[in-house]
């Protein structure tokens, strides 16, 4: 029996084998990063909140920040038997939700997307598909059987973002 795990803000979840499902609910300016190794069926998802770690303090959740999240999730997936060189990625999120009124905050969503894409590139992981930006939240789901990644925005239907288990989807096209 597989497990169904929710990936909250700053969390990393990694699973191996069939029947597992990973979900990040309501990604606003956050980014959900899906990684998959088709051979070992090791799947991982991290819910990145901010672009860059703020301090050198120990004990901070590595999944909170793009720059620490990618190395941390790769390490955990390799720990489950995945090969870093076989990993492929799909990402979603990075929206700017507050559209009404004057928002004086910087657009964290687009900075998050940029930071995640850079971190994936630095780790040598091909980015197969992305659904980032805009002004609506998204729910992201990945299935460990085949690396299928689906995304749903409010008021919309769930749609396929990527099939990370498909070995023909080789190179990073979306970056």
């Amino acid at each position: 029996m597989g497990v169904h795990l929710t990936v909250g803000m700053g969390e990393i979840q990694v699973v191996r084998g069939v029947g597992n499902e990973l979900t990040a609910l309501g990604l606003g300016s956050c980014i959900g990063v899906c990684l998959y190794d088709p051979l070992t069926r090791v799947a991982g998802m991290v819910h990145v909140v901010l672009p860059k770690s703020q301090s050198e303090r120990t004990g901070e959740l590595p999944g909170k920040f793009a720059d620490t999240a990618i190395p941390a999730i790769v390490q955990q997936m390799v720990g489950l038997g995945a090969s870093a060189s076989r990993l492929k990625a799909a990402i979603a999120g990075g929206a700017q939700l507050f559209q009404f009124g004057v928002s004086n905050s910087l657009d964290v969503g687009s900075r998050n997307a940029e930071a995640v894409i850079n971190a994936l590139r630095a780790a040598g992981i091909p980015l197969v598909a992305k659904d980032v930006g805009g002004s609506t939240g998204r729910t992201l789901r990945m299935f460990s059987d085949n690396g299928l990644v689906v995304v749903r925005a409010i008021g919309g239907a769930e749609r396929e973002l990527a099939a990370l288990g498909n070995i023909l989807t080789s190179s990073g096209v979306a970056a």
């Binding site: 969390e11 309501g26 901010l50 703020q54 901070e60 929206a95 939700l97 939240g137």
Partner: protein
């Protein structure tokens, strides 16, 4: 794996925070009641320290589509104050204020909702300011319509320092007929809570 909260408060201190939130929410709910001429009830405020991954659990249904009105708070107690109303409630509120039975979510409705949120949030903050003698200044509000959990995540990224844990003060408001329901969430910056507690001799 998770860091311990820097601010481990006692149960008595959390009780004091709930009481202060109760005072603020009393003012906010009567401001709303006056505005739309109906009875508004509040439940007992929650004051908790939760891992940020569990922050959406302060909402009754984190996936519900809501209208979220958010403003930043500066002064002695910097923080982030948000009202999330389920979308039907938001439409009803805006309709009552604009004198229309049905509204669509456009700029006019949004500005009516932001004004409602602004009035309630200001009433809340003024009550706390009067009670504690601390200076609490609200920024102009902004608004979004989205899943409640997405709105909270878009709020928390504005924290000056985002810890692994967040002190969260949350209260549900509703009317007896079940037409209006929403949740108020206040996320103080680290350090703000100490200032509130010190101001009332509970520091």
């Amino acid at each position: 794996m998770s860091a311990q909260p820097e601010y481990a408060f006692s149960e008595e201190q959390f009780d004091a925070l709930r009481e202060i939130a109760n005072i603020g929410m009393g003012k906010a709910s009567s401001a709303l009641a006056d505005l739309i001429n109906t009875t508004i009830l509040i439940n007992v405020p929650q004051a908790v320290c939760v891992p940020i991954s569990e922050l959406p659990s302060v909402l009754r249904d984190p996936e519900l589509v809501t209208a979220g009105i958010y403003l930043q708070v500066t002064g002695d107690v910097p923080g982030h104050a948000t009202f999330v109303f389920d979308v039907q409630s938001a439409h009803r509120l805006a309709g009552v204020l604009l004198g229309m039975p049905e509204v669509n979510l456009d700029e006019v409705t949004a500005s009516a909702l932001m004004e409602i949120g602004n009035i309630m949030l200001s009433a809340y903050l003024t009550a706390i300011s009067d009670f504690t003698g601390l200076q609490i200044l609200p920024s102009p509000p902004v608004m979004a319509v989205d899943m409640g959990c997405a709105i909270l995540s878009a709020v928390i990224v504005n924290m000056q320092h985002l810890d692994d844990f967040a002190v969260t003060i949350a209260t549900d408001i509703y009317d007896p007929e079940g037409l209006i329901s929403g949740t108020f969430v206040f996320l103080p910056e680290p350090g703000g809570i100490q200032r509130i507690l010190a101001a009332i001799g509970m520091g």
